[in-house]
Symmetry: C2
Subunit: 234 residues, 2 copies
DNA sequence: CCAAAAGTGTTATCGCTACACCCATGA
DNA sequence: TCATGGGTGTAGCGATAACACTTTTGG
């Protein structure tokens, strides 16, 4: 094939605007929350929106997503996963844009509150979201569905908790994700039987007089067990 | 915001070539196979490749994927799912292209053999693939991983079998997907206990003198049971 | 009648569920 | 001392895994 034909092949195709959008999950006491932003540009300026950005010519899709997350939360080592593309021709009245949605799990206590204010952002309980622009509502629903499926078989819940957490906290998190109550004894038995938590000597007394022991997720031990065929399931 | 600013916002961003690629799975007797194509254009003309295409300005991503599948197999009602984006800056030496990979499950007996020949395509056993161009090797690995995870909890295996199939066939399929032997009695017990298969009066005698009863997947019954909270697991 | 694949039941074990009481502590 | 949340054990049940023999029939 001549280089003229090659040129024609690639140049004959049409370039398209590509964006990424981020569904940012946080967990607060007993509630799953989303970080939403007041959109600054038309159309729909002033309305609530996921945070997003166009993919620049010098960056890959994951790089764009990480950039956006860092700009909006100040965090750069967060759990971030691609969720799927949204490409309806009419999805954005401003222009034809293909968006690749991502969801992120962040620790509410670690993100920079100041950046949230700078961006006119707000944390909303998942069950009480405002109307969102474009197809962002659909994206959030798909994100929660994906989070639910994934959390059952992979230890990603810990990404939403502080580094040190109590078992009651962990249980509340899973109850929020699954939207159902779990039995305390059975929950403890199961999670502890996996031997992927390190029990610390400290107690957290913010929620009770007795205090609850703090634990830490042991990533190394988990990966070791996973290699040996153990599989996480909650 | 003025419309001049709006214009700048959308026009300030850079458009990018967007493609889709398809990992096409088939199942033949006891082997999982992939449909691969001899690439017709430079760079890498003549080498083996997944089938793909640029996303046109008048179509969405799923539409592009369906178009490509129909062009290459003649089938238009196949199981097709998006798998993720591939966007490394250097992934395609011909140009900067973001590709959104999809995997498809098709019935080997239904696709148009003639189209396969037209496209200089060939079915390869998954365990014996030729070298593939670009990042297509990585895509196929990710596709199999995804198929494995998904097949365990959703009845998608049937998409790879003829409409009527025998239990030994179904078992061979799952053995090929999981790459491990399953116990015949336990396998039957489990799949039959779900009550999502309709037993027919016909037998398939191609593999034995005695013949094996044919079954059909009952989509309606499955959806009904799923609504009631039953969950498929194999 | 025999080779080759299809079909069938039982038992032991494991994991899950359901469930109620004691413990530690600060106010 | 008491109210509050944290922590623990067990028994019954259902699901899974392991395992071997009989049936059918074309050649």
């Amino acid at each position: 094939m001549s280089s003229a034909t090659l040129k024609k092949y690639y140049e004959g195709a049409e370039k398209i605007l590509v964006a990424i959008d981020c569904i940012i999950f946080g967990f607060d006491k007993e509630t799953l929350k989303l970080l939403l932003f007041k959109r600054k540009i038309a159309p729909f300026a002033g309305e609530w929106s996921l945070i997003g950005s166009f993919v620049q010519s010098g960056e890959s899709v994951p790089e764009a997503a990480q950039r956006v997350l860092e700009e909006s939360t100040g965090l750069n080592n967060v759990y971030l996963e691609e969720m799927g593309s949204y490409s309806d021709l009419q999805r954005d009245p401003g222009s034809r844009v293909i968006s690749i949605a991502h969801y992120a799990l962040i620790r509410l206590d670690e993100h920079k509150q100041q950046l949230v204010e700078t961006h006119q952002a707000r944390w909303f309980p998942y069950d009480d979201l405002p109307d969102l622009i474009l197809d962002h509502q659909e994206m959030t629903q798909n994100a929660l569905a994906k989070l639910r499926r994934k959390a059952r078989y992979q230890p990603i819940g810990f990404e939403l908790l502080p580094e040190k957490f109590t078992l009651p906290q962990l249980q509340l998190l899973y109850q929020a994700i699954y939207q159902k109550k779990l039995d305390r004894r059975n929950f403890r038995k199961k999670i502890l039987s996996m031997k992927i938590l390190e029990k610390l000597d400290e107690k957290d007394k913010t929620n009770s007089r007795k205090g609850a022991f703090l634990y830490r997720f042991d990533e190394k031990k988990y990966q070791e067990l996973e290699r040996k065929g153990m599989n996480f399931e909650l």
